[in-house]
Structure formats: structure tokens, C-alpha cells
């Protein structure tokens, strides 16, 4: 992947975005559901309010399977670079999980599907979480330093 796309990360970023959009459209056109990952994941936990459990499991299985298939097919690993600080990971995970459910969506449900529907709630949510995310990175990297 890196070799193919390193030369043009803008192109890769755009193609990736189109695929994410196609996934959202496929889901809506066939199952009538918003592709909201935080909604899918959080509704794997009780209480269960509808019959979509298996479909959600299937979507999440697809999410996890694609990199495995990709690695297997190309023989190259998926390189991610992420903090290994356990307290930071726990704090961030709690905030992301809590905030996504509280705010009714995340980057996918609000940021892609909601904005595509011109939902005012999603536009506001996206502007807010982009702003606090940018502010957080600014403080972590440039104020506290790191």
C-alpha cells in the first residue's frame, strides 16, 4: 500500500474517502441504515432495542476482516503508529465512547452520513468535535509539548 500510494497520498486519501462513501450508500440503499460506527458498536451492548444485532456484528466483522484480507493478499503488514501510554489510551477511549453515544454519533454517523443529509445536528456536532480535536492536539503538542 505504501509503495503504491506514497507518491500521491492525496489520491489515496480521496479514493479511500470514496470507498467509505460507497459503503455508507450501500448500507442505506439496501438496509436503510446510517453507517454510524459508534452506533453499531454501542448497540452491541444491552439494552437491545431492535433486531439489527447480527447485521451490526457483520459490519464490524467486515471492518476487522478487511485489513487481514489485505495483509494476506499483499503480504505486507498494516503499519499504524499509536501511543502506547495505557492511561492516555484509557482516557481517550472513555471520552470517545462516552462522547459518541452522548452526542449521538461520531466521525462516520455525523461527519459523513449526517453532513451528506445536511442534518443541522450533524453539522454542529462535526464542527464541535473537529474544533475540540484540533484544540486538544494543539495543547498536547505545542503547549504541553511532546
Amino acid at each position: 500500500m505504501d509503495q503504491i500510494f506514497a507518491a500521491n497520498s492525496t489520491l489515496a486519501a480521496t479514493i479511500g474517502g470514496v470507498l467509505i462513501g460507497l459503503s455508507a450508500v450501500l448500507l442505506m440503499a439496501t438496509t436503510g441504515r446510517i453507517a454510524g460506527i459508534s452506533g453499531f458498536v454501542s448497540r452491541l451492548l444491552p439494552p437491545y432495542t431492535d433486531d439489527g444485532f447480527l447485521a451490526r456484528i457483520a459490519f464490524i466483522a467486515g471492518l476487522v476482516a478487511a485489513p487481514l484480507i489485505y495483509s494476506f493478499a499483499t503480504g505486507s503488514g498494516i503499519g499504524i503508529s499509536v501511543s502506547s501510554s495505557v492511561p492516555l489510551l484509557i482516557a481517550a477511549g472513555l471520552l470517545v465512547g462516552f462522547g459518541a453515544v452522548r452526542g449521538g454519533g461520531c466521525t462516520s454517523g455525523h461527519g459523513v452520513c449526517g453532513i451528506a443529509r445536511l442534518s443541522p445536528r450533524s453539522i454542529v456536532a462535526t464542527l464541535v468535535f473537529m474544533a475540540t480535536a484540533v484544540a486538544t492536539v494543539f495543547i498536547a503538542r505545542h503547549v504541553i509539548g511532546g
Binding site: 486519501a13 447485521a55 478487511a66 462516552f98 462522547g99 459518541a100 445536528r121 450533524s122 505545542h142
Partner: protein, 146 residues
């Protein structure tokens, strides 16, 4: 059929995360780091995903119902309230701290990264907490929250 398609949609979505680089927290943090090592490429991912979804949703909504379900399940919530804005703000802080939002974090489980497992575990705990708080005040289906 819904289950099959949800799996395929999950694969597509994950492939998009992979090709765009959104699966990689370091890249996401660079995207958010406007004052430092800013990497604008993920803006193309977001724009392409939104554009694709906007067009695709319009086509999908020409039908009166989805192909394999009874009805489109669109969010009906309209209120822009403290819960939405506060949730989104908290979500953004967590996203900025590590660079994982729910989709990429779940997809990154496939890499076997310990950090991804810790993050997802904490995220589930945060989701559970938020859903527990929600239960008494909103008996309506959470399907309507985005």
C-alpha cells in the same frame, strides 16, 4: 441478505480507512495539527466520502424503501442541545488525544496492536456508561439519535 451486505459494507468501509490512512492514529493527529506537522490529505478523504454519500443517498432515496428492508431508518432528532454539543466536544478531545475514532480503532484490532485493544475496551466502557445514563430519560429507540 442484510447480514451479507452489512459484512460487505464493513469491508468496503475498512478498505477506505486503510487506503486513506485514516486507520493510522499518527496520520490523524497530523491532520488535526494545524499549527505543526499538518497533513491535509485526510480533508480529501472527508470531502470525497461526503460527496459520494450525498450523491448516493439522493439516488437511494428515489426509491420509497431500501432494497432489503421495510423502511429507511433516518434520525428524527432535531434538537441542538447541550447533550449533542457536549457529547461532540468530549468525543473530539478523546479523538485528538490518541487519534482513534471508533471505526479506525475497531479496524485496527486486526493489526493485533495492544494499544487498539486497550482503546476499544475503554471505548466500550464509555459507551456503556453513556447508555446507562441515557436509559431513564429516553425510552424511545436510540436509532433516532444521529
Amino acid at each position: 441478505m442484510q447480514i451479507m451486505i452489512s459484512f460487505v459494507a464493513g469491508l468496503l468501509f475498512s478498505l477506505g480507512l486503510l487506503i486513506s490512512g485514516l486507520i493510522n492514529p499518527a496520520k490523524v493527529q497530523n491532520f488535526l495539527d494545524l499549527a505543526g506537522t499538518w497533513d491535509p490529505s485526510l480533508a480529501f478523504t472527508m470531502a470525497a466520502a461526503i460527496a459520494t454519500t450525498t450523491i448516493g443517498y439522493r439516488l437511494a432515496f428515489r426509491n420509497s424503501r431500501p432494497l432489503f428492508a421495510d423502511a429507511f431508518q433516518l434520525p428524527i432528532a432535531k434538537a441542538i442541545d447541550v447533550r449533542l454539543v457536549g457529547g461532540a466536544a468530549v468525543f473530539g478531545i478523546g479523538w485528538g488525544l490518541i487519534g482513534f475514532c471508533p471505526g479506525p480503532a475497531v479496524a485496527a484490532l486486526s493489526t493485533g496492536s495492544t494499544s487498539a485493544f486497550i482503546f476499544v475496551g475503554a471505548m466500550l466502557a464509555g459507551m456503556f456508561l453513556a447508555r446507562t445514563l441515557e436509559r431513564p430519560s429516553s425510552p424511545s429507540a436510540p436509532q433516532t439519535k444521529i
